[in-house]
């Protein structure tokens, strides 16, 4: 069919609008990267746009030698890996019984989990609780309270509900226990949704800065995002914290940009590879 003139114009407008929107997302990253690779003179006279000027790697040299950065990275990796694994265990274990129609008590338990999605004690009582149970300045304070999100649990539960009941029936007849059914049938059949939810948890743990800010008091236990936040709030980095050979040539902006870019790199690399899974899993899971 021949496209009419107005349809052609429509298509052109679509391409233009989407491309501009896409650029507004990419260009700030290019600006950040360019700033991180430019020297002090270029950054402070404001001439760096999307390409490095007076190219230098010394900001990255500083990041690589910065103990706080590596500590943060180590803590964030620990929190993200351990947190995501435990969260997946707890979330799937909870979602499984709640997805079985034969389990009459499920309605009551579902309410218990939905209530915490709708109402919470608030910042101060939670803060006092963490102090009370001695999790202050402990990395587990950044993991334990975040192991079950009702929203994620419902995504998993809704997906479990779509699995054919006949599979469960035949396993039951073969004498399989609930744990065997859960491990050998339910989980393997739900991989796209589980990958999506694992990604949500991992991103949540990786990006969390607030609990690190209020519960962690020693820098060596700080997660990376909390360290980034302190860096962001610093007007400038004191000269004595910089190695003397680069202190002259390096601006605070470049160091900040190099640190932020290095901290975001894992997401920038992993995300496009995982994208196809989460879109699929999200659409499947949300379709009740």
């Amino acid at each position: 069919m021949i496209e009419s003139r107005s349809d052609k114009i429509f298509s052109i407008v679509v391409y233009i609008v989407l491309t501009i929107f896409g650029l507004t997302i990419i260009l700030p990253f290019l600006n950040l990267l360019a700033t991180s690779l430019s020297d002090q003179v270029a950054v402070s006279n404001g001439s760096v746009a999307f390409w490095p000027k007076r190219f230098t790697l010394s900001a990255y040299q500083f990041v690589m030698e910065n103990r706080q950065f590596w500590n943060g990275l180590k803590n964030s990796l620990f929190i993200t890996v351990v947190g995501t694994l435990l969260a997946m265990v707890v979330t799937t274990l909870t979602a499984y019984p709640l997805s079985l129609p034969k389990f009459r008590a499920r309605k009551t338990f579902l309410v218990i989990f939905i209530i915490v999605m709708l109402f919470n004690g608030g910042l101060i009582p939670t803060y006092l609780l963490i102090n009370q149970i001695g999790l202050r300045n402990n990395r587990w304070a950044l993991i334990l309270p975040c192991l079950i999100s009702t929203y994620n649990m419902l995504l998993v539960k809704n997906y479990f509900e779509t699995l054919p009941e006949a599979l469960y029936e035949s396993a039951k007849i073969d004498g399989a226990t609930e744990l065997q059914i859960f491990l050998k049938i339910t989980l393997p059949l739900s991989l796209p949704t589980l990958a999506t939810v694992a990604l949500f948890y991992a991103v949540g743990f990786w990006n969390a800065y607030f609990n690190g800010m209020i519960y962690i008091s020693t820098p060596d236990k700080m997660p990376l995002q909390t360290y980034l936040q302190t860096l962001l709030n610093m007007a400038y980095i004191p000269a004595h914290e910089l190695p003397p050979e680069i202190a002259e040539s390096l601006s605070t902006e470049s160091i900040r940009a190099a640190t932020i870019f290095s901290a975001t790199l894992p997401i920038l690399i992993l995300y496009p590879l995982l994208q196809k899974y989460f879109v699929k899993g999200l659409v499947l899971g949300s379709d009740k």
Binding site: G121, I124, Y271, V279
Partner: protein, 314 residues
């Protein structure tokens, strides 16, 4: 399976479902400790909490004196509270008015694209900011909008301004900055659900419309929008329900005392008053007010959604 009939119903139930209760234990313990226990801590909104009243937080809570509703009565006479409450509603309303329609438009545009390569690339790009923390997003915006950032430089070299604009420190600009950066981060991601809805429309409807000579704009008005109107209305109701969530992480990272006037919201006030000034009871009272109004809004939205669509958030 044991064919014998057990006389005790409870034992029978336990034998059949016992394993399922065990499955629930880890999740239940976690929500009991980290979600339900703090709800008990809300009592400090009705006391004058004194950290030094006891040896531990719980002891201090028990030993602090009751003041009843005193903190709540004081709320509306408190300028910080009324300012933050007003800002919460205004910023949220701006976000809804300006940002709610954009994902719908994006979804319509994306589903119109024929080139598979372009479609995939643009989706990958526009979903990306959703996965960045507000720390990183704030850093990007400070980078671009800072005194030596590209925007100020362009405006200067174009002769529009002579002095740099302090985007983050200007009460007239701050709310706009909040709405734009929230849009930058989330509108792409929020389009996903509409893209799924549009992809689900029967393609025959579009074919028939084309036969009748309808152009793309007419197809959008007469087919696409009516077909996804349920999704739109439902998400709109749920969005209104979340009106008291004006974006804590975003504002905490982007604001400073210079823009409290137009930028301070209830949750940032709770943080400053509570953990900053250690005004625990007042902060908890503000937080409780926020939680209760939010709860009523969410329940109302869900009730409405169920009434209209037989489908809610849960």
């Amino acid at each position: 399976m044991n064919p014998q009939k057990k006389p005790n119903k409870f034992l029978k139930h336990l034998k059949q479902y016992g394993a399922l209760y065990l499955f629930l234990i880890p999740g239940l313990i976690l929500v009991l400790i980290f979600n339900y226990t703090p709800m008990g801590g809300i009592v400090i909104a009705f006391k004058n909490y004194d950290i030094f009243a006891g040896g531990s937080p719980i002891e201090s809570i028990i030993k602090s004196e009751w003041v009843g509703f005193a903190h709540f009565k004081a709320l509306f006479a408190n300028d910080d509270f009324t300012n933050a409450f007003e800002n919460t509603l205004i910023i949220s309303t701006y976000k809804i008015v300006f940002l709610f329609p954009i994902p719908i438009m994006l979804a319509i545009m994306i589903t119109d694209i024929r080139s598979k390569w372009y479609k995939k690339t643009i989706q990958t790009i526009i979903y990306l900011p959703h996965f960045l923390s507000w720390i990183v997003v704030t850093a990007l915006f400070i980078q671009i909008l800072g005194p030596y950032g590209v925007i100020n430089n362009w405006l200067k070299s174009a002769g529009v301004i002579t002095q740099s604009i302090a985007f983050f420190g200007n009460n007239d600009i701050f709310r706009g900055l909040i709405v734009i950066s929230a849009g930058w981060k989330e509108v792409g991601w929020n389009a996903i659900i509409y893209i799924a809805a549009i992809t689900g429309i029967d393609p025959q409807l579009f074919e028939a419309a084309k036969m009748d000579g309808a152009n793309k704009v007419q197809q959008i008005i007469y087919i696409t929008l009516p077909s996804i109107s349920n999704t739109i209305v439902m998400l709109f109701i749920l969005r209104i329900g979340a009106i008291l969530d004006a974006g804590f992480d975003q504002i905490l990272n982007m604001y400073s005392y210079v823009v409290y006037d137009k930028g301070d919201i209830l949750s940032t006030l709770v943080y400053r008053a509570g953990l900053g000034q250690q005004n625990y009871s007042f902060a908890t009272a503000v937080g409780l007010f926020n939680s209760i109004v939010a709860l009523v809004m969410v329940l109302g939205g869900n009730w409405l959604s169920r009434k209209i669509f037989q489908k809610g958030l849960w």
